[in-house]
Subunit: 425 residues, 2 copies
């Protein structure tokens, strides 16, 4: 939260004529830049080009299975092993699917609603007012799934260590209608927060009024470090087991931002009871996933070490774009009081909080000069940011020079809108 | 239906000692043959090996789209065009998905239940006793989807021209709880029946008590001819449009038995209203399908003519297996009265009807000698064949010599079980 009363009005007023000129100059340039989504850029996709050819004509799995044919509803054994290593679980605690972890998450929620989950007493859809906790700002597509299925969303603030656990514990203990929580535990979308060990432990141990409460653990950025050292994340399945709640968590990840965003491999993990549940449902939906693409990924990456080495190449491409965002925000906004922002060590976003009541206006103003940002409010349930303050910046896709230009414009817009709000402009 | 009173008891009694010897001889061989599912054999999969390499490093669609990246929730435009040609619809009436048409069908039913369909007045799941018509014998996985979601199944007999339309019309006109019908309209699973023009027209024109009635048109064998000439199938979307019921049909198909059974491409088609409905739901579930695999298929097959040429190669491989099945059934069973069977001009199955009350015993007896057949009853809703007569034969997977051996054993079992039933043995 950035209050209008805390801004440096004097400095803003002095800078105002220049800001107006700069904005008009940007506008005259006729920019057309897109920073709306966390899409990898072409150079990142180029890193995995050998994936396209690594299969050759050898379609057999390590056990000799013909991956061209039907079968294997929960994925190729060696693909399960690879994702088990990524998620820190056993291979029989993994299901490897198609190209989309969102698809696995959506379907898990749909199944919980239509049939219920292990340990529950029936379909969640039969519960009047079934609700999910939505740490916010968060990932818009998680919120869309809830909205789509009529699941109530209870926003809980994000802290630097994860969701506000006092509030989460209170909600989960107090109401059996609260059946789940969405989490992006590492390099969270959009805040970049990595959940602390304490948060993981509290999630695993908290009392739940609903015996079938589930943590939707979207570890989308499990290996997506921007710096040499990763930020450690406590193993939540282990924590849940230790807490005596082994079925509490469903983990998800994918190679969408490792190999190809449109043609990667998604996976989920959890207790064997949860995986058996998912397998039973999957066997109604499909004869099996695309094993050839799973085989490609195993052949190409081999193991977690292979993935980590590959991710360093990603970091070398997008790291400078993140640095540019932080450098320009710092140079333009430090000391003005018109904004605060995250300094992520991984993931795909910088989260910018502008003066309360200004986010929509900033996004509109940037669009007016040709830079598309994620819709203001998108990072909150129902698209409603109560403070109208949060803006998600996604610098991965445009070239570095475009990111620099876009961020200068964004900074100018942030200051101009704050000045208007303060009655200076 | 084959009644025990109609069999040639004299001939069976004469043959009995020999049949017993033959059965014991088969048993002594220690066979291990699997004819349970319609899986392509390795030689068929070999036909598409160039598909694995046809992409090279060229990942761009014809419009220059980077197919490695996110996007395109309803499929690659050129893939939509290809499937539009296969299904005889316009490109904007097609959605191309992942590797499984069963997945698209399952999800369509799930969405109808959770949200309803265009033209309806709410979720089908809210309708007490919601039911589907299930022409039987039919495809077990269709029936599994209904069972999974608690949709009642009303079995309707198959005739040589499609489902018994008098019965279908009566059910659909009489009860708004009847929301759908499963159809495999060409080379039906397992009967091989191709729906007649009259059946297609009656399905399109029939009065439906439910305004949101849907035909689930699983055109799984659209291009899967065994003979040079295809058996024409009337275009059901055209028929539905002409009848003023443009939203009545949802069509499905895939390349599972064209390219790779585990790594093909599935598609669905229907009115733009239906496709918009599906797109809206899909956009909650995924950012998009694997466009690289769609691109592979378009590059490799090019158009319907390319697919048809390819399918002739499939027919050359599996045609002799079907001929062997028919030849052996004819030689062994003709004139005995112990069985009747289909003579399909395409598809993947031969449907064998044995003496009423004998199918389970025949399947068990064949298994006893090492030949696994599809579970008796599987071709009926809830696995319950009221006559215990139908056996699905799937000759595509085993080598020709194994098919011959398996069919001889099956014929021996059919006769032995009939003899037991008749009190001869």
């Amino acid at each position: 939260m950035t209050d209008i009363n805390d801004i440096d009005k004097k400095r803003l007023a002095d800078e105002l004529p220049k800001l107006k000129d700069r904005f008009e100059a940007f506008k005259a340039e006729g920019l057309q830049l897109d920073m709306t989504r966390g899409k990898p850029c072409a150079e990142q996709l180029d890193l995995s080009m050998d994936l396209l050819e690594c299969l050759g004509r050898d379609y057999r799995s390590e056990s000799g299975l013909d991956c061209r044919n039907y079968g294997g509803v929960d994925g190729l054994p060696e693909a399960k092993r690879l994702f088990a290593e990524v998620l820190g679980v056993a291979a029989d605690e993994v299901i490897v699917g198609g190209n989309s972890s969102l698809n696995l998450m959506h379907d898990a929620v749909a199944r919980a609603l239509s049939h219920g989950v292990p340990g529950g007493d029936g379909p969640w859809g039969a519960v009047e007012g079934v609700a999910f906790i939505c740490p916010a700002p968060g990932y818009d597509r998680h919120f869309s799934v809830c909205r789509h299925f009529g699941v109530d969303m209870i926003a809980v603030p994000m802290t630097d260590a994860g969701p506000d656990m006092d509030r989460v514990e209170e909600l989960v203990a107090g109401d059996a209608k609260v059946k789940g929580i969405w989490c992006v535990p590492k390099y969270s979308n959009p805040t970049g927060v990595v959940f602390s060990d304490e948060v993981v432990d509290r999630l695993a141990n908290m009392k739940a009024a609903a015996a079938d409460f589930r943590i939707m653990w979207d570890n989308a950025y499990a290996v997506h470090d921007l710096e040499d050292e990763t930020v450690p994340l406590k193993n939540t399945l282990d924590a849940c087991k230790a807490a005596g709640n082994p079925d509490r968590v469903l983990m998800f990840c994918s190679t969408s931002k490792v190999s190809f965003a449109g043609a990667g491999v998604g996976a989920m993990a959890g207790s064997v009871a949860n995986m058996d549940w998912m397998r039973q449902h999957l066997s109604m939906q499909t004869i099996g996933p695309d094993k050839l693409n799973q085989l490609r990924h195993v052949r190409y990456f081999k193991d977690l070490a292979g993935i980590k080495a590959h991710m360093k190449k990603h970091a070398a491409i997008i790291g400078p774009k993140f640095e540019a965002v932080l450098r320009i925000l710092g140079a333009e906004l430090d000391g003005t009081g018109v904004g605060t922002w995250s300094r992520p060590k991984g993931g795909y976003f910088v989260s910018l909080d502008v003066v309360d009541g200004c986010a929509k206006a900033v996004v509109a103003k940037a669009a007016d000069a040709g830079v598309k940002l994620t819709k203001a409010g998108a990072t909150f349930p129902r698209g409603e940011d109560p403070n109208d303050a949060n803006i998600r910046l996604a610098p991965s896709l445009p070239p570095l020079s475009d990111v620099e230009k876009a961020m200068e414009l964004v900074a100018v817009c942030v200051k101009l809108v704050a000045a208007e709000k303060a009655g200076i402009a």
